[in-house]
């Protein structure tokens, strides 16, 4: 918790300073220009690549020069670490860029393998010495539960052996987990081209559906729900159910793979957002005036009066929190397991997007000013603010690993931010459409939907990506996209309805029955519900780093150290020592002291004597 408070303070401090940085924008030192030029080159390359592929769509392209200008500005803007003064910022900036060029070029598929490097970079608050003598096999690193702490510098032999034992156990468990990968049965989907001339983005849904098995080809469909659009939708956590919500007030829950409709209703009023609660039996709708909770049969269960005029709603499944961001500038956390409003905080500015970070339950709010704020229930202010775009943010997505934030702005740019430690932009790329909605799949496939097209990129965190993976043409303007969990399916909510498309390789092939099982029986579901309720995480445990609890905090002072510290002579670090001056000061002080003492003595002498003298 301590750490989190620090973060909050940091963010609070950083708020006024951010404005300073904006003012400082034009002054860039010469050393940096070379780096920026490199950056420009990279972006140039991207742009060329983007232009190189032929696209039939007659979308007007943005001015390339404009784009360069934008990206340059943002590179300066994105300094988040602004603790120090100007010189510090520049060094940070350099660091950020170095990172960009060197490290992110290489990582393509396995982001997790890089964490070793990251941890070494981390000057974390819990900077215990990490044991690097005993190695963990490369693939097993992601299974490691917390860092292995080296038992050095610990005097107590019991503690030392205990710590060593824990380290060994951690290593062993990671190895075992790696071994268990052998048991995973399913493989991911894919598209394999025969030669380089074949381009995957030329494939239409019709062609894909032809080549896959019958069951899968059934997953490509369009629902024409015309007068009720544009449509918002959400897949349930196990991917089995689909909640459709039209802006005109039509909603329905569909068991979409079997084509079974569970409920359908027309409310009459507008629906702005919709989300499932802990399972498909309950869902919440952000209606025109309030948020309502309905059950599977369409019965209104709750009317959440506090959530007045909601714009976005979302559900944090492990905390049982329903989060509403309202047009009135409130962000409200409602605990649906007890039916209590937990926290209500206020944001400022025109809200334009909201998404949750699945790894740490931080709510990301995107604003029309191009700023993304990260909110946690415990703090009244955002814990992190990132200036992402110069234009309104239209949509955001966080990767399943919680490491990357992808934002889309109405400036036709899609940007990737590193959420692990720097909160800086790793790279950006331009789209040919104004993105309305973006979504990341479990295997980090990015879908960007806008206008009448949906672009899909396969490795969005790879700086060298050139061309999209797939391009899908919608019937009408796309409003929302989401990848179906554990399926190679992308849902697109459009003006006129909903369409489901196949994106091979976008789904996680192996699900875990303990978390979300698409084929769960009723009994399993019931049991799961009870277990999850018992494991409900208290809302005040939401922090930027969810794994703080139970870690070792170093640098805690013992009584002896405290005592030593207290008895140390206090030295003002800012003072400049000049031995000659010091000597003079000491002498002067000594003189003064003697003078004072002698005065006291003499005066008392005098007065006492004089008094007595008078008497006699």
């Amino acid at each position: 918790m301590g750490v989190q408070k620090k973060d909050i303070k940091k963010s609070q401090q950083s708020q006024p300073k951010k404005q300073q940085i904006k003012e400082e924008e034009p002054t860039i030192e010469k050393d940096e220009e070379t780096l920026e030029q490199q950056d420009e080159k990279i972006i140039n390359k991207h742009w060329k690549n983007l232009n190189s592929f032929n696209d039939d769509s007659s979308k007007p392209e943005n001015d390339s020069d404009n784009d360069f200008g934008d990206s340059d500005d943002e590179n300066v803007n994105n300094n988040r670490d602004d603790d120090g003064d100007g010189s510090d910022e520049e060094s940070n900036n350099k660091f950020g860029k170095k990172r960009k060029i060197s490290e992110f070029k290489n990582d393509t598929n396995n982001q997790e393998d890089d964490e070793e490097q990251d941890n070494s970079n981390k000057n974390g608050k819990f900077d215990t010495t990490i044991d690097k003598t005993k190695k963990v096999p490369k693939g097993a690193r992601k299974y490691l539960k917390g860092e292995i702490v080296a038992p050095t510098g610990i005097k107590n032999p019991y503690l030392r052996t205990n710590l060593k034992k824990i380290g060994d156990l951690k290593r062993e468990s990671a190895k075992q987990a790696l071994k268990s990968e052998m048991l995973l049965q399913k493989d991911c989907g894919f598209i394999v081209t025969e030669n380089e001339k074949e381009k995957t983005y030329k494939l239409t849904q019709h062609q894909i559906a032809k080549q896959v098995d019958i069951q899968s080809s059934g997953k490509v469909f369009d629902l024409n729900l015309d007068p009720n659009g544009p449509y918002n939708f959400e897949y349930s956590k196990n991917g089995r159910y689909l909640l459709l919500a039209g802006a005109r007030g039509h909603y329905s829950i569909v068991d979409w793979q079997r084509g079974k409709k569970l409920t359908e209703r027309h409310l009459g009023g507008a629906i702005r957002d919709a989300c499932f609660l802990h399972n498909e039996t309950m869902f919440a709708l952000a209606q025109k005036k309030y948020t309502y909770i309905y059950n599977q049969d369409g019965v209104e269960l709750h009317w959440l009066k506090d959530h007045y005029d909601p714009k976005f709603i979302d559900f944090l499944p492990y905390h049982y929190l329903l989060v509403s961001a309202t047009n009135k500038g409130k962000i409200i956390y409602e605990d649906i397991s007890v039916g209590q409003k937990v926290v209500e905080s206020h944001y400022h500015g025109p809200l334009s997007a909201m998404c949750q970070n699945p790894q740490n339950a931080v709510m990301n709010l995107g604003f029309s000013t191009g700023i993304v704020q990260m909110w946690i229930p415990k703090s009244r202010n955002p814990v992190v603010k990132i200036h992402c775009h110069k234009s309104p943010i239209t949509s955001m997505a966080v990767s399943l690993s919680g490491n990357y934030l992808v934002t889309a702005g109405s400036d036709c740019m899609v940007k990737v931010f590193d959420l692990r430690n720097t909160y800086q932009e790793t790279h950006a790329f331009a789209t040919k459409i104004t993105p309305n909605a973006i979504s990341l799949s479990g295997t980090n496939v990015l879908a960007v939907a806008g206008d009448k097209q949906t672009y899909i990129w396969k490795n969005p965190f790879d700086t060298s990506i050139q061309e999209p993976y797939l391009i899908h043409k919608n019937n009408s303007i796309a409003n929302s996209v989401q990848f179906c969990p554990f399926e190679d399916v992308l849902g697109i909510g459009t003006q006129s309805g909903f369409s489901s498309t196949l994106v091979p390789g976008s789904g996680i092939a192996n699900y875990d029955s303990m978390e979300a099982d698409p084929f769960a029986s009723n009994k399993m579901k019931k049991e799961q519900e009870v277990k999850k309720l018992l494991e409900k995480i208290p809302h005040d445990m939401i922090t930027l780093d969810p794994n703080v609890i139970g870690t070792i905090q170093s640098g805690v002072k013992s009584e002896e150290d405290k005592f030593k510290r207290a008895n140390e002579p206090k030295v003002d670090k800012n003072r400049v020592f000049d031995p000659v001056k010091l000597q003079q000061i000491k002498e002067r002080n000594k003189e003064r002291k003697e003078k004072r003492e002698s005065e006291i003595l003499t005066s008392t002498d005098k007065s006492a004597l004089s008094r007595f003298e008078k008497k006699y």
């Binding site: 399913k186 996680i508 875990d512 139970g550």
Partner: protein, 444 residues
């Protein structure tokens, strides 16, 4: 161009035939299991709470004696057989599976001061204040007393305790002197003494079987080696020692229940300093016993509570009491270390669970696994304040609470004094590990 997408059939994913067991799919990818640490913490919290909810340590009360129970001992190889001797000279054997009395016999006039089984489990030897040691035969399948005395040994003074050597026919009694007897001989073949105090307790070491410890009324703990004809070491403490116990797994560790309300553990190789001080009782400790695993000590005393200490912690893990339980003269672990027996002034033997929330009865494999998992995560998060308060909080009788409060205040003021002295003399504050200087003198 080759295209493949994920495609699952329900039959394959769940079960192919109706009779099949449903498949459970696991994927240990940490991305699919977010909030692992917080969820574990919540689980640990729930487990500790449930622990307190299910903490019902009292199992049964064995009534039948018509006077306070002064001494108890367990059968060497029969798990459910326990003998107890009361202040009116009666010895009873108990069946712990059915909580019933097996048999009873009027053995002595006056107190039964000590009982012990012979290593083969066929005889009971008891000593009393009537200056006799009596040996009783047990009739086998039922463990009932044969009315005829096998042999009776007469001493010159009243006996205070008795203990049998392992794997031999030698036993030791205490009184004015320590006397070593054999089954076949009517007189002691060895008499040991050091100083003038009456010896109150005598215990053979279960591993080094010739080693014998005793405590006396003049604040001594004396160690003898019966192969020699003289005592080996003497430890003098500030206050009297009431009880002794040897660690059954570490031959050199000795626990002493002291009049100054503490239980001390000594390494007999270094008697000048106590290894551990267990300081939670608020009255004199009258009896201590090691669990057969050697990891825990149970103690009872004048404050009418039973406390269980892990051997390496100064704090008690558990405190047991009831309204009706009076001063506890004897405590005893059962041989499977799952239960604790306490004999008290109120004529009852009480049976307690050693782990207060442990389920009774046979557990299924899944239940066992779950309990093991819960123990592990409780262990993992035990230092977190929220969990610690729940797991360590115990309600105690008002008297105990007040006395402990006073004791703590005294302790605090002592610590303050040490700190102040150190600070004002410009030294580094060093907190002494043992506050009360228990050991006075060690003689060899």
């Amino acid at each position: 161009m080759k295209i493949k997408v994920i495609s699952r059939s329900e039959e394959e994913e769940t079960k192919e035939k109706a009779s099949d067991v449903r498949k459970l799919h696991r994927n240990l990818d940490p991305n699919l299991h977010p909030f692992e640490r917080p969820r574990e913490y919540v689980r640990a919290l729930n487990a500790t709470k449930l622990d307190r909810v299910f903490a019902k340590p009292f199992v049964a009360s064995l009534s039948g004696h018509s006077d306070g129970i002064f001494t108890m001992t367990r059968h060497p190889n029969q798990l459910n057989c326990v003998a107890s001797g009361s202040c009116d000279g009666v010895i009873k054997l108990w069946n712990l599976t059915s909580f019933t009395e097996r048999t009873t016999i009027q053995s002595h006039e006056g107190f039964v001061r000590g009982i012990t089984f012979t290593p083969d489990g066929k005889y009971v030897i008891s000593c009393g204040e009537d200056k006799t040691v009596k040996m009783w035969k047990l009739d086998m399948p039922e463990f009932t007393f044969n009315e005829d005395i096998v042999s009776s040994f007469n001493g010159k003074n009243a006996f205070t305790s008795i203990d049998h050597q392992r794997n031999s026919s030698t036993f030791a009694t205490s009184g004015v002197n320590v006397e070593i007897w054999k089954h076949q001989r009517s007189t002691p073949f060895q008499t040991l003494s050091w100083g003038y105090g009456t010896i109150t307790k005598v215990k053979f070491n279960p591993i080094e079987t010739d080693l014998l410890a005793s405590c006396t009324t003049d604040r001594d703990v004396i160690l003898y080696d019966i192969r020699q004809n003289s005592p080996a070491q003497k430890l003098t403490t500030t206050m009297r020692n009431n009880a002794l116990a040897w660690n059954p797994t570490e031959s050199f560790t000795l626990a002493i229940g002291n009049e100054d309300e503490n239980v001390y553990q000594y390494d007999i190789r270094k008697l000048d300093k106590a290894m551990t001080v267990h300081r939670d009782h608020v009255g004199a400790v009258l009896d201590v016993d090691y669990s057969p695993t050697g990891r825990e000590i149970v103690s009872g005393g004048l404050d009418k509570t039973i406390r269980i200490f892990p051997v390496d912690s100064f704090k008690s893990r558990e405190v047991y009491f009831t309204n009706r339980m009076q001063r506890i003269f004897s405590v005893l672990y059962t041989a499977d270390s799952r239960f604790i027996l306490s004999g008290s002034d109120d004529m009852n033997i009480r049976v307690w669970k050693a782990q207060s929330s442990a389920p009774m009865g046979i557990l299924s494999n899944r239940e066992k696994e779950k309990l093991e998992y819960q123990d592990k995560i409780k262990e993992k998060f035990k230092e977190i304040p929220e969990l610690k308060t729940i797991s360590t909080h115990r309600r105690v009788p008002k008297l105990v609470y007040k006395k402990r409060f006073i004791k703590n205040e005294i302790h605090k003021s002592n610590m303050r004094k040490i700190k102040n002295v150190a600070e004002n003399s410009g030294q580094v504050v060093k907190v002494p590990k043992v506050l009360s200087k228990h050991t006075v003198k060690v003689d060899k």
